[in-house]
């Protein structure tokens, strides 16, 4: 029949009413889009956090944040405070500690490009963190002096291939050493791939800090005892900062869930209210067009033809509401974090990727201790999936809200409908 053109024309004939009714859905849909986008955005970040922090349950570093050892050189980036490597022995005596891995991370330059260099002990590193995702070549071994594993993005940026040599300097003393690229790792997060791994001894040598480390990565015997172990460390070992990434991730996840519930509730309430608007408008439309229904039935329309007619109209309202809601939500999703900056204030890595959980001044072991810290906001991720979900949700609400009025219209008796004035 003329289902679509009739529906469109009837909605056009009552532009204001259509707009008001659709706006009821807009509110709910935009809320939903903000919700989904924030969750997507934060999920990405939580995921990157988990990856960035590796599998380490606890990281221990010097409690003094920064120490400027650049001396007379022109304001080089500060380097992290270090710990004596013997602390590993102290920490291994703490009950609940399953494995430890010392690390010396610093900001160095590879072929002139400043990146984060991690000096690690391959065997213990793999035990504690589960290792890197090597996509080419291999990871470091016990005999990896002079070998380097570089992130995929950095490889591409520097136009390197496996087996080539690179020159690496710590930027502190200016001494350069050459390393052979033996492996390429991938994390999926570009900023994490602007990094390289070398042997701990090499790192200490380049920085002139033999016997020193910046972090100890710890794996606990069981994930459930992480916080107990971390407080044991805090009280037993003075002068260290103890971070529990897995707990932070958990807290972040909890916050995410709370946020999800918050928006889901508002969104659902708004959608519910909006759907009542649609029901109301459609009931009005059915009443107004009672005679038309009677005429259509008199000339042979079946109940389901009438049903389709009004359902289509309700669906259209839902589609308009969904479409505008997606637009409004996309705008709001970017504005919203600025309204509650406290909730989303985050550090930013030198590569423009935000890490929601590091406070300024905190050194994240895997991002290196030398990142420039600024306040930035979580960017909601408006994925095609989110848009599709919200748009369909609008359509669904329209159809559901249209069901009762359409059913009422469809079961009208033709004679009675025709008598209606």
């Amino acid at each position: 029949m003329f289902t679509w053109s009739l529906a469109i024309r009837n909605l056009r004939r009552r532009k204001l009413r259509t707009a008001l009714t659709a706006s009821g859905i807009v509110v709910g849909i935009s809320m939903m889009l903000i919700l989904l986008s924030l969750v997507s955005g934060m999920e990405t970040q939580v995921r990157s956090m988990v990856r960035a922090l590796g599998g380490a349950d606890i990281t221990v570093s010097n409690s003094t944040s920064f120490r400027d050892r650049a001396g007379g050189f022109f304001g080089f980036l500060p380097s992290p405070s270090t710990l004596d490597a013997s602390i590993v022995n102290v920490l291994s005596g703490i009950p609940g500690v399953y494995a430890l891995s010392p690390q010396y991370s610093f900001s160095g330059s590879i072929n002139g490009r400043r990146v984060t260099i991690y000096g690690i002990e391959p065997a213990s590193y793999e035990i504690v963190t589960g290792g890197l995702n090597i996509i080419e070549g291999r990871f470091l071994t016990e005999n990896s002096a002079g070998e380097i594993v570089i992130g995929k993005a950095l490889m591409e940026f520097l136009d390197l291939t496996l087996g080539q040599t690179v020159s690496l300097s710590s930027g502190q003393i200016g001494a350069e050493r050459t390393f052979k690229v033996i492996g390429v790792f991938e994390t999926g997060m570009v900023f994490q791939e602007y990094a390289a791994y070398i042997a701990l001894a090499d790192a200490q040598e380049i920085t002139g800090e033999s016997g020193r480390i910046t972090h100890v990565l710890i794996k606990c015997e069981d994930p459930s005892i992480v916080s107990e172990v971390s407080s044991l460390i805090s009280s037993a070992v003075p002068g260290v900062r103890v971070a529990t990434p897995t707990i932070m991730v958990q807290q972040a996840t909890n916050m995410l869930n709370t946020l999800t519930m918050f928006f889901a509730t508002i969104g659902l309430v708004a959608l519910f209210a909006g759907s009542f608007g649609v029901v109301n408008t459609m009931m009005m439309a059915v009443t107004e067009r009672t005679r038309e229904i009677g005429v259509l039935k008199a000339i042979g329309a079946k109940s389901h033809d009438i049903m389709k007619l009004f359902l289509t109209e309700a669906l259209l309202i839902g589609l308009i509401g969904g479409g505008v809601g997606v637009l409004a939500g996309s705008i709001l999703a970017h504005v919203f974090p600025m309204l509650v900056p406290g909730m989303f204030a985050t550090g930013i890595s030198p590569f423009g990727m935000r890490n929601p959980f590091s406070r300024p001044g905190t050194t994240n072991p895997m991002l290196g201790g030398t990142t420039t810290q600024t306040f930035r906001l979580v960017l909601p991720a408006i994925t095609p999936m989110n848009v599709a979900i919200c748009f369909s949700l609008g359509a669904l609400v329209g159809i559901l809200a249209g069901l009762y009025p359409a059913w009422r219209a469809s079961r009208m008796k033709p004679v009675e409908a025709l008598r209606h004035v």
Binding site: L6, I299, K302, S303, K413, L418
Partner: protein, 229 residues
């Protein structure tokens, strides 16, 4: 012109009682009506005598309290909702006093509606609707909305719509009731022409002498009964 004697519509002891609160209104009281194919039947009678009720029962718009309605030998009172809708779609055409065109659709689209309901393809129904509008002399007004047409023009569109699926019976309830005499005459000339050309049967409720002049048979109703033939 030879008149066929084949019965197309026959009512048998047709009664309709409306219940209004505690009061029962006998709108139709044992009506026995017989209409032959190709007739133009006029039904007259005072307001409230049951003319519209009778027409609605013949058209399958309503169900009787008792009695039967045979159309081409089939008792339509036994049909289910969907079959009845099909009966209205294909077998009968309705014309109302106040035209009852769909205001959001153009003249052409209004004529297309029954064709679309019958599942006729877009091109075919457009062509058929245009030829129907040509037949009622409104081809030039095809793209006008009802509120851009005069009453007489709207009623001619309504006739075209009623004839869309080539029904054998056209039921009209005071079709000239809202028209000036010139439009009424034009409408009746059209009906006579259609009747002569296509042999369609018309049952027309009316008070209008212009209509009754064109009728082959006239019945008068009073208090829910057919009084005279």
């Amino acid at each position: 012109m030879s008149k066929t004697t084949k019965t197309i519509v026959r009512t048998l002891n047709l009664s309709k009682i409306y219940r209004r609160g505690k009061v029962n209104i006998q709108a139709l009281n044992n009506v026995n009506l017989q209409v032959s194919s190709g007739e133009i039947v006029g039904i007259m009678g005072p307001s409230g005598s049951g003319k519209t009720t009778l027409l609605n029962l013949i058209g399958g718009l309503d169900r009787p309290t008792s009695g039967k309605v045979f159309v081409d030998g089939v008792d339509i009172t036994t049909l289910g909702e969907s079959e009845l809708a099909d009966y209205r779609l294909r077998k009968v055409g309705f014309v109302f006093q106040f035209y009852n065109l769909i205001p959001t659709l153009t003249a052409l689209e209004n004529v297309e509606v029954p064709l679309a309901l019958a599942g006729v393809s877009k091109n075919e129904r457009r062509e058929r609707a245009l030829s129907l509008l040509r037949m009622v002399g409104l081809e030039a007004r095809a793209d006008h909305k009802p509120d851009e047409l005069s009453g007489g023009e709207q009623q001619r569109v309504a006739i075209a719509r009623a004839l869309a699926n080539n029904p054998s019976i056209v039921l009209a309830d005071e079709p000239t009731g809202d028209l000036d005499s010139k439009s009424a005459t034009a409408l009746m000339n059209l009906i006579k022409e259609l009747n002569r050309k296509n042999g369609q049967t018309f049952i027309i409720v009316t008070h209008d002498p212009i209509v009754t002049q064109a009728c082959t048979t006239i019945y008068t109703m009073r208090d829910g009964r057919i009084e005279s033939a």
